[in-house]
Point group: C2
Chain length 574, copies 2
């Protein structure tokens, strides 16, 4: 396989390759102001000690805010000021739309500051990193892949820098190639690896700075500092197109229930966002199931009740979304999987596992249809979770619902027509998509984002970054719950249509992001309203008492805020 | 279920609903010239007698060509000239993008000629036609669905007007509602039904004219008079988007072979068109397999040889397209299916079928994996073909290839990495798509196209329209064959991207159509060149001999052409 080679483009690909991503205003000028903020922290304070012990050199660095420079600094100052840099970049983890634009942005950024800086790509993912398989990324290569989908400029393989051997191979490569920086483009597990690598490099006084860039179609690498991941916007749009086509299809033929499983690993971000975009009849989120401890029986019953209620209105079609992580979040299946994976770790061979299960797990296992038994027995992924993309939860549920509806029909409770289902798994067919405008822009601008912090302690005591789950108290989930009954019964399907690059729809953002941003900005707005009210009250002509109370209150208040965020008043111009 | 109700639109849906389809120039003016052409004929002359015997009243009507009127007729003449008409319309057959625009075009056409004309929609397909479930199609309904996907304005059900009971129910409806015309929107089998209905209506002197409109995503209702079917363009574009995403994915991860089965029923038009648009490594067409009598073993070997050759170049990924009709075109499987369906017709119950197969069919059946056994035993569709959408040929081939690669590996012949595959079936997720600009325009203009002719005699002696197969001597297939070796080895993947409504790509046509049109128009051009040459030679100053030879040759030539196409010189202005 040759990397970095030019492909034959379709008209649209060609057109996209000329698209110039838009930068946020703060990054449009070469002069910008950096403001140091708080130290990075772990989401759960009880993890702080363990994390800081594991990452003594890298934990707790301060956040950097990029602001438009308020000083008049000439461009020329920058072009001469920056030293020559050698940066390595590697794709690590599943291909996600926008990955190529990270490299495009990185290339433009380092070349803008010094033409003699070099960008080195590792071919074939982490294997290329360990074995020093490199190509120098030239302008021609960047132009051939900008705004294009996939990871085929460099390819990817194992997606892992974890064992001592692997870490040392990476170290050796960085030192041999004399790299100033190593950029790791990846998702949750790649960022755990990147954090570990950064700590090891710091410990061994290796000069290479490790930078992780959150690119994951699952959208599960977000926190208070990172609102979205590169690729999520495109993935949701492509999947939403297909889901809404099935909604239209269901409504036209009126005889099928579509059970659609969506990629997304443990978290249900893709499923929730697609539900917002398409308004199907039902979506069952993993986080919801785990939190309410819904059993397989509960979920089946919930769907059957819906089918029954719709049949009473003469409706025999519907669309139900399921995240791929659902299977792991069902308590009894979770326990069964834990046992299976435990036996795997003990070296029990696949054909012996079923016979060594506990009586309880065995009873559940025997109850399940044979196709799902085979899938549950597949060996776990490298992060010890079940191989979710291969477990056909949609078929399992469709089958259980069919059996239950037949029972209800025989007992005379259900009087409608026979229940029919068609199952789909949407995942692979979206991953290689041309990135949306949002992802092109966001990825291109990402070059400046520094490595994320915020690892959490996992159960076995080894700190690692966990995927962000859906916030069941958040706006996006709340909105969905609010409309659930109407969506279930009234077929309020919405069709966002295929991903557009020009004209209407091309600038749309994901609904989850819009809603969450509204919330954040809404609160800042609320605070500003309070400040304005104070100004209105405490103005020339107000009484001495009012002035006195206001002054002392504000002094105390500023004191508290300063203690909570000690660095926010300092500024630094880059 | 309420039909004709307004939905909540996304931004793109709203925008599309304002799109005004473009009409061909001949239809843009209200005045147009009709030219009567040859009598319609069957493609195979040996069928003519049987067809004319079955359709004595409707077979052999003359073709009508629409030309821009060369006479200056005022618009007002038309608006007053046309009588009030009552037209019924019914969706019959699988939902196909553009179906709503047929109704939109029909509505505009009849209202343009007389505001008091009425368009009546039958709700729930042919069932609605039999039971006289109707709604009057108003401007509001048309506006709510124009340029939108699906068939949900009216829905569809059985897709059949075949039994004496059904035909009489349709007749009764048309007479009760006093319809001047009945428009049947559908594919191959619906057109057989429509032809039969037209003949019966003519026989019984029913005043309702039956009109069939070729709307089928399979693209298999084409002949010398109909170059394309409504829906085919959209379906190919949506599928091509997904296939090319998988190509990019394969190239990024470099570890999977994607086996993709495409909807299309017996014919492979969708697969061939998608192969042209995406350039995957391999496409196996049903027509090719049937014509070369390739066995399951041959096809498996062909794929394994390709996997082996690619592995020698270090390539462990690939994309292979399969039409859903493939399974029926493999000779030994075809024979097995014939036996199974024969036993079905004899009333043998499913669980007894396997034991009653002939020894030869039984041997093949026992060799097959259990999932495909179950699928082959499914009851046949209403047109007596296997339920193709439910037979997972892609999984069968992937499994056979895996077994064969393991054997080659054990024998030491194959030295590469383990073969991995992921299977997909693309069909349902494209059917409900927003129609492409091409399909919006084409469907809107279709209102003026009269019922197709060209039924062929089927094996059991009952005339029916057969799906058009890929022409293995045609340009589109030839182009594909020509590049097959390069496409197989060199990963020349092309990504047409998602369906666009504005900007680049929004005006693209299917490659099959472009190629076929080129051929046709190319030949007409060639003829015109000859005529020009004659003009150049036979001009004032040429010898008497030349003039004499030219005159007598042309007179004879015109004579022959006139005898072959007796009506083409007459004109008639509408």
């Amino acid at each position: 396989m040759t990397f970095g080679g030019a492909m034959e483009f379709s008209g649209l690909q060609k057109n996209r390759s000329f698209y110039m991503p838009e930068l946020p205003s703060a990054l449009q000028k070469k002069a910008m102001q950096l403001q140091f903020g708080d130290a990075t922290a772990v989401p759960d304070p009880s993890d702080a000690q363990a994390v800081s012990r594991s990452f003594p050199l890298t934990y707790g660095q301060r956040l950097v805010h990029f602001l438009s420079s308020s000083f008049g600094i000439r461009d020329s100052q920058f072009l001469t000021e920056h030293p020559v840099m050698r940066i390595g970049v590697v794709f690590c983890g599943r291909q996600s739309p926008g990955g190529h634009n990270i490299i495009y942005g990185l290339y433009d950024a380092i070349k803008t500051h010094n033409r003699r800086s070099t960008l080195i790509g590792f071919c074939g993912g982490t294997e290329g990193l360990f074995e020093q398989k490199t190509i120098e990324i030239t302008e021609n290569i960047v132009l051939a892949y900008r705004n294009q989908g996939g990871y085929d400029m460099l390819g990817r393989t194992k997606d892992q820098i974890r064992t001592t051997e692997q870490v040392h191979a990476a170290l050796n490569t960085c030192q041999t190639l004399d790299l100033d920086g190593l950029v790791i483009i990846g998702g949750v597990t790649s960022h755990t690896d990147a954090a570990q690598l950064a700590e090891t490099f710091a410990e061994l006084k290796c000069q290479t700075k490790v930078v992780g860039v959150p690119v994951t179609l699952y959208g599960d690498l977000k926190n208070q500092f990172v609102e979205a991941n590169v690729g999520f916007d495109t993935i949701c749009k492509v999947n939403a197109q297909l889901i809404s086509n099935l909604c239209t299809d269901a409504l036209s033929a009126e005889k099928y229930y579509y059970f659609i499983r969506l990629m997304g690993r443990k978290a249900s971000h893709v499923a929730l966002e697609c539900a917002h975009q398409c308004k199907p009849n039902m979506v069952i989120l993993s986080e919801e199931v785990a939190s309410s401890k819904l059993t397989l029986f509960d979920i089946t019953k919930r769907i059957c009740d819906a089918v029954e209620a719709r049949a009473e209105q003469g409706k025999y079609h519907g669309v139900i979304l399921l995240p791929e992580g659902l299977i792991e979040s069902i308590p009894e299946v979770h326990a069964l999987l834990q046992e299976i994976h435990g036996l795997y770790r003990k070296g029990v061979s696949v054909d012996k596992i079923a016979s060594q299960l506990s009586p309880w797990a065995s009873a559940l296992f025997e109850f399940l249809p044979s196709f799902i038994k085979e899938e549950l027995l597949l060996s776990p992924d490298s992060d010890e979770s079940a191989p979710l993309s291969q477990i056909e939860t949609e078929k399992l549920l469709a089958q259980l619902v069919e059996i239950e509806m037949d029972t209800r029909s025989k007992s005379g409770r259900y009087k409608g027509k026979k229940f029919n289902s068609i199952c789909h798994f949407f995942g692979y067919q979206a991953r290689g998509s041309l990135p949306s405008k949002f992802d092109c822009d966001y990825a291109y601008a990402m070059m400046t984002v520094k490595r994320l912090h915020g690892p959490r302690v996992s159960l076995i005591g080894k700190p690692s970054i966990h995927p962000a789950a859906i916030n069941l108290k958040g706006k996006a989930y709340e909105m969905m719950l609010h409309d659930a009954e109407k969506l279930l019964m009234d077929d309020l399907y919405r069709n966002p249509g295929p991903l557009q690059f020009e004209g209407p729809g091309s600038d749309s953002k994901t609904i989850s992001l819009t809603v969450e941003q509204k919330d954040y900005i809404g609160k800042i707005k609320e605070l500003q309203d309070y400040l304005d009210k104070v100004k209105m009250i405490v103005k020339p002509g107000c009484s001495q008492e009012v002035l006195k109370v206001a002054l002392s209150s504000m002094a105390c208040f500023i004191n508290i805020l300063s203690l909570m965020s000690p660095h926010t008043t300092e500024g630094h111009t880059l």
